[in-house]
Symmetry: C2
Subunit: 393 residues, 2 copies
């Protein structure tokens, strides 16, 4: 086998993540590596923490990036807050609720599942019924923004219900963070995790997490040791703690931290409210274009995520063939359906730096061109004007 340097094609990333990474974040990523215990790096860690507190809208001291992807962020929340024998209510309305169930089981605990249709929001009434039926449950977990369906649930209400029944809460904010409002303190979320490769538009591989006081108390007073050494917050706290004295836990992904810092800085510069508004406005433009073509979003309007648009694949259209042509001819990535929705939907992301006007027009033009070419039953030539009308308003 012969090997040669890898030069990736220049894609436009409009799938469910990673999103387009802006040049200034890539540049930050490639700055010279320093040691993970270098005082200069420790200063950077403090800034990353403060910036994460800002984007998560929290003053939780236990706010930091886990040195691994979002799935490990999910696992960090479960292994620290769940003990063998616990009953955990998991609300599932897509792929990631199912992954939560796996996590609960692997902690030796019992998952109580509350199911909603894929593409729907979590129904608070069903959660309340489950809380009443299982007064011994200690935790409620749900996904704020389901990346597999594009549906957003009412995190504030769900957390309130859980607290009323003395349960802690774990919230998956992988796709919501910096794309739609997420207010960790105001909503009193106990534990939350996210990813870097969605609306932060940073490179994938890091998972911001935050734990509130109740969660922190639980972690410090467990009956059993956390089953993961790598994800044990009791140990990680020592490295990400206050002040200059840090205990070595693992070697932090130094360069990824440079990139995360720069990504958070960009959100801070734009302002969180402005980022939310941009995601919303651009979603409306994309939606107008898609609907003009006759392509329908599968999620009901009140629960639609602006940053992830799941649309029904038009009748008779070959899912994989269209995505392959978009990728090969237009260098445009959109997402396939997952699980129950495989083959039925496309997921079009407008996340972070990908939520730009030029991406909307590029996507609509490419989709229109490919679908016209294969004679798909959609309206041609109308998408761009419809989108532009919204953007001009």
């Amino acid at each position: 086998m012969t090997f040669s340097a890898f030069h990736p094609p220049l894609r436009t990333l409009m799938g469910p993540g990673p999103s387009d990474v802006p040049p200034r974040i890539l540049e930050a990523l490639s700055r010279p590596t320093i040691g993970h215990l270098d005082p200069t790096f420790v200063d950077l860690m403090d800034e990353v923490k403060a910036l994460l507190q800002y984007v998560m809208q929290t003053e939780n001291a236990l706010t930091m990036p886990i040195s691994a992807p979002g799935s490990a962020g999910m696992e960090a929340c479960f292994v620290n807050l769940v003990e063998p024998g616990d009953k955990v209510i998991v609300c599932q309305n897509g792929v990631f609720g199912g992954r939560m169930k796996e996590n609960v089981e692997r902690c030796g605990a019992e998952p109580i599942m509350v199911h909603d249709a894929w593409g729907s929001a979590v129904d608070p009434q069903k959660l309340e019924d489950a809380l009443i039926a299982h007064p011994d449950a200690s935790l409620v977990a749900f996904v704020h923004a389901e990346t597999s369906t594009g549906a957003q649930s009412d995190a504030k209400t769900l957390v309130e219900l859980a607290h009323r029944h003395n349960c802690l809460t774990i919230v998956d904010a992988v796709t919501s963070l910096a794309g739609t409002p997420l207010k960790v303190d105001e909503w009193e979320i106990d534990a939350v995790y996210s990813g870097t490769q969605k609306c932060l538009s940073c490179v994938p591989g890091i998972a911001p997490v935050s734990f509130g006081e109740r969660a922190r108390h639980k972690i410090s007073n467990r009956q059993h040791k956390v089953q993961s050494w790598f994800l044990d917050m009791n140990l990680i706290m020592g490295y990400w703690g206050q002040g200059a004295r840090r205990a070595y836990h693992h070697t932090a992904p130094v360069n990824a931290m440079y990139a995360l810092h720069e990504a958070l800085l960009m959100v801070h510069e734009e302002g969180l409210e402005n980022a939310w508004a941009r995601h919303h406005r651009n979603h409306l433009a994309l939606r107008a274009g898609l609907e003009a073509m006759g392509i329908q979003l599968i999620v009901d309007e009140p629960h639609r995520l602006p940053q992830l648009n799941a649309v029904a694949i038009p009748e008779g259209v070959d899912d994989a063939a269209v995505r392959a042509r978009l990728l090969n001819e237009h260098h445009l990535e959109i997402g396939a359906g997952l699980g129950d929705l495989a083959g039925k939907v496309w997921r079009i992301g407008l996340m972070g730096y990908s939520s730009r006007i030029e991406n909307i027009t590029r996507c609509l033009a490419a989709l229109d061109g490919v679908l016209a070419d294969i004679g798909a039953p959609v309206n041609h030539g109308v998408a761009l004007p419809a989108a532009e009308k919204i953007l001009a308003a």
Copy 2:
């Protein structure tokens, strides 16, 4: 709080890792991000796998990078191969054997500890005694190259002993990989993990692992599910499997994979044997310089790691003050002692791209200057000539 762009100082990294990352790897790291399921990325994954097989000297199909730091690579080996109730023999001669013990316990298994002094190699006789005393043990774990002490153990002999007593083996090769010979297939190692930030001189955050046929059989036939969803090799195999069809597991750290590919390419270009020889030659030169000053290596010659030189801090010298001056005045990072050796040793790394002549001379000159300035009881002005004599030979 106000925030601004982070521009790291330009350090020379001669601690226990991260090592200096060469510009071409930083440049590869910053190439445009593509999707983790992009066919182009899948091709890259195949190359990374083949290159890892080369540097690990194995044909194991189950060879791949874990998307998290070395500590997670360690945990991946333990959670996949250990089941509750198992007896695991752990040879400890430094910090990382202790971390293995933690991993065994957190898997619900019983660690049988075999202790050797910090700075010594693992004693095969002690392992054999333990194997005889515990015929029901199912696994032996040890560290090939102890990053905390600079001692190398005889992996081939230890694995042979384990196999003779029907035990599988987990080998920590975090610091040995690409610095000293590591022959996974020839030595019949069952499971091995490493890191990217040592002799591969890649950015930290990724952990190459490899599992042989016996280990693979064990993983596929477990009684209990792997306790970590994120590290379950049964699932990860589906993403890193053969061919174009990959099952989504987690979002791979795409840009870190570019960097790892480039780092592996550099080892492949140099040739593994040449890399080993370079590490050895440069170690001899550094050692000559240090010994000329009167600074002694703490590990006996046959077990010394050329890539990590643990030296006794000269009598009366303030450990932290010297390291701070090296860092602040010379931008040179060397490592502190860990655990039992804290305050007693410095760890001077010559790993990967840090194993260069200019680093040796820079380190000796800086150390000589700072120690002279504080009136330390060492010989001044003799280190560089001693090192240069070796390099000229």
